[in-house]
């Protein structure tokens, strides 16, 4: 085969290649999905934002324009500030513990165990369970009476003093919810970490072995830096999920006891549907969306910078 036969296409051919997208075929392919997205997501979201500047109660056909009054009211509202604090505590708790647990599970099931595939399936199973079913299941596990669930287990192990009112104690309730979320989604984080682990070249570990590196050094200098993309993805998903969390909180505590587990999402629900303040509820939802977007952007930039530096 002569060199000429494999030479790059001439300018005319290259232009033709570049011109191909102009035929419009790829655009036609995305039109159905784009139309659906615009009408199902973009249009309702933008029209929803307009309610944030009204006093709509969800019932009347008319709604009065109130400018930024809803936002001012929320900024001065103790309940909204407390919910914001709870939301951040919950999101940070979920992010840290879920990813730590997910990483440990990934490292454990990445080892050459005979049962690793069964274990991976078992650990991932809660992630495909309905969040509401998981929440109702955990209500029984958290039964405060000591007749069943976690308290019964602690009692039978002679750890009666550790028995708690897991969902009824305002100091514990939020962390009890965090545990449920971690239980459900640690397997999800594990799968992403596993994908990252499987992408690390084996040669690096073999070279480290020849150099006499310990397990800890291999983890710290090979595994951890090369897991950075998986970590970025996991931290992003868990933080955003934690900030938006609603189902588990609503099903297990309804935001209580008192306001101990009230999050921005549950407060949006109450403002709109319990109090009939749709305008205020929408304003709060809009603020939550901005918070999620801002936090995600900051986090993404920080983690991307870390990926590059490592």
């Amino acid at each position: 085969m002569s060199r000429a036969e494999v030479s790059p296409p001439s300018d005319a051919v290259a232009r033709a290649h570049r011109a191909r997208p102009a035929t419009g075929v790829p655009v036609i392919f995305i039109v159905p999905a784009l139309v659906l997205y615009v009408f199902v997501v973009v249009y309702p979201s933008i029209s929803g934002i307009t309610y944030a500047f009204t006093d709509w109660n969800g019932l009347t056909a008319t709604r009065g324009f109130v400018g930024f009054r809803n936002f001012r009211e929320l900024l001065g509202d103790d309940a909204a500030r407390a919910a914001l604090g709870n939301t951040f505590r919950l999101a940070l708790g979920v992010m840290v513990v879920q990813n730590a647990a997910g990483l440990l599970l990934a490292l454990g099931t990445h080892a050459r165990l005979r049962s690793r595939f069964v274990l991976r399936t078992l650990f991932f199973a809660p992630a495909v369970t309905s969040t509401l079913i998981a929440a109702f299941l955990w209500q029984y596990i958290y039964d405060p009476s000591g007749r069943q669930g976690l308290n019964a287990l602690l009692g039978s192990l002679g750890l009666g003093t550790w028995q708690q009112d897991w969902l009824g104690n305002p100091d514990l309730a939020l962390w009890s919810v965090v545990l449920v979320v971690v239980w459900q989604y640690a397997g999800y984080s594990m799968v992403i970490f596993l994908a990252g682990l499987q992408g690390i070249p084996q040669e690096l570990y073999e070279a480290a072995d020849i150099d006499g590196a310990s397990g800890a050094r291999k983890f710290w200098h090979i595994t951890w830096p090369l897991l950075a993309p998986a970590l970025t993805l996991n931290l992003m998903l868990s933080l955003v999920g934690g900030l938006k969390l609603f189902d588990q909180v609503f099903a297990m505590t309804g935001g209580g006891p008192g306001y101990a587990t009230e999050t921005l999402s549950t407060l949006v629900y109450k403002q709109a549907f319990v109090f009939g303040h749709y305008g205020l509820g929408t304003a709060l939802a809009f603020m939550l969306a901005i918070i999620v977007a801002a936090v995600s952007l900051i986090q993404l930039n920080l983690l991307r910078a870390r990926e590059v530096s490592e």
Partner: protein, 412 residues
């Protein structure tokens, strides 16, 4: 037989059958109804009886817990596709209460209906708006202590008629290894029941015009018998009247505690009696007023119109919906029996379910107060009240702080 005759006869028959089916379908009316699951058993009884009498009317009934009803019906009202009939609550304390719904023009006026004349005038301010009727309130209900008569006999406990006797009852039950009052405060609506049972005595027996004074800014939660009611609620807790961890115990668990006999009583609305009975068919259940003072003659009870049914202004079956409400109004005694509630108008001859006999004298002598939230200006006061009690039990607030917060929310 010629082919045409062979085919023509069955075809004619089939055509006649099809036409009669179409005609039947045209005369069939389908009403949609969304109601509170608390009244499901009783409401279904009325619906079944009505459909039997009116085979051309089909009622598609959906039942859901109160919080879900609030969301789904309000959303459907806002979207203009509300059910023909739906649960409406008295007063203004809930998102589906009659006053905010009328203000939003989401209820059909029913003042011309025959049952309107039967609404006692004492309930006018929570059942009517501007003197006009907009929903059918079938019964009134009350809050008291649902108790197991056999358990009381076995423990030799007499039904208490004073506050001190309530505390003694707690001591006796505790000594026998039983829970005196099951309490499931995890479901926030349950938290209000004991204050609602005590406040008629501590507030309204002392000052019958409290609501009007509060509306005029001349009375407050903080400077009223509400303080005494909350203090007594906490006293019951420290005295060991309740199961362990009330804040972590659900309403379902509370019901099971009474049904299983682990608890000998629970303060609740009368409508819960059938639910507990369904969990233990052999239990002999009844209700006694929770005494709020040490002077039996000074004790009052809460009694208020319960959830009723209204018609959506967008309904295309108004005539059929009104006819159903009329039938319902003629059968309130049956409904009251099924729901363990009391007719709206109680006279000297009114018969009630035996379990409610102890409540009847209070209603006849008008020693009653409405459920407090029915006269509150918005659902937010109730929310502060419910969450505040959970905080009281969790040690996160105090009685004065909670009352102050309730006042602030009331006056907002």
């Amino acid at each position: 037989m010629p082919f045409t005759r062979t085919v023509r006869r069955p075809m004619t028959l089939a055509l006649m059958l099809a036409l009669s089916t179409v005609a039947g379908a045209q005369s069939q009316t389908t009403l949609t109804l969304v109601a509170d699951s608390n009244i499901q058993m009783a409401m279904q009884g009325i619906i079944d009886a009505y459909q039997k009498l009116n085979p051309n009317v089909r009622i598609n009934a959906t039942f859901a817990p109160t919080d879900q009803i609030l969301v789904s019906v309000r959303t459907r009202l806002g979207a203009g596709n509300a059910p023909d009939l739906f649960s409406v609550y008295p007063g203004a304390g809930s998102a589906l209460s009659v006053i905010p719904l009328v203000q939003a023009k989401q209820l059909l006026e029913l003042s011309d209906q025959p049952w309107v004349s039967g609404i006692p005038s004492t309930f006018n301010d929570v059942l009517k708006v501007g003197g006009k009727a907009y929903f059918f309130p079938p019964t009134q209900t009350t809050i008291g202590a649902i108790y197991n008569e056999d358990a009381f006999k076995a423990l030799k406990i007499a039904v208490p008629s004073t506050w001190n006797e309530v505390l003694q009852m707690c001591d006796s039950a505790k000594a026998a290894g039983k829970v005196a009052f099951a309490l499931g405060n995890k479901d926030s609506w349950v938290t209000q029941l004991i204050p609602y049972a005590l406040v008629p005595t501590t507030v309204y027996a002392v000052n019958g015009t409290f609501d009007a004074q509060q509306k005029a800014g001349k009375a407050s939660f903080a400077a009223s018998g509400w303080r005494e009611a909350f203090t007594k609620y906490l006293e019951m807790n420290t005295r060991g009247c309740f199961n362990a961890n009330p804040n972590g115990t659900s309403f379902q668990q509370q019901t099971q505690l009474v049904a299983s006999g682990e608890a000998i009583a629970a303060v609740s609305v009368a409508g819960i009696l059938p639910l507990i009975q369904a969990n233990n068919k052999d239990a002999k259940l009844a209700m006694f007023p929770l005494p709020g003072s040490n002077t039996p003659a000074r004790n009052w009870i809460p009694a208020a119109p319960s959830v009723g049914l209204g018609i959506a202004p967008t309904s295309k079956n108004v005539t059929a919906a009104k006819a159903f409400l009329n039938y319902f109004s003629q059968n309130v005694d049956t409904y009251a029996q099924l729901a363990s509630e009391l007719p709206l108008a109680v006279t000297a001859n009114t018969k009630v379910v035996p379990a409610l006999t102890r409540m009847l004298p209070f209603i006849r002598t008008k020693k009653t107060a409405l459920f407090m939230d029915q006269r509150w200006p918005s659902p937010e006061v109730q929310q502060v009240h419910l969450a505040g009690i959970q905080e009281l039990f969790g040690g996160r607030t105090t009685v004065p702080a909670l009352l102050q917060k309730m006042d602030q929310t009331y006056n907002k």
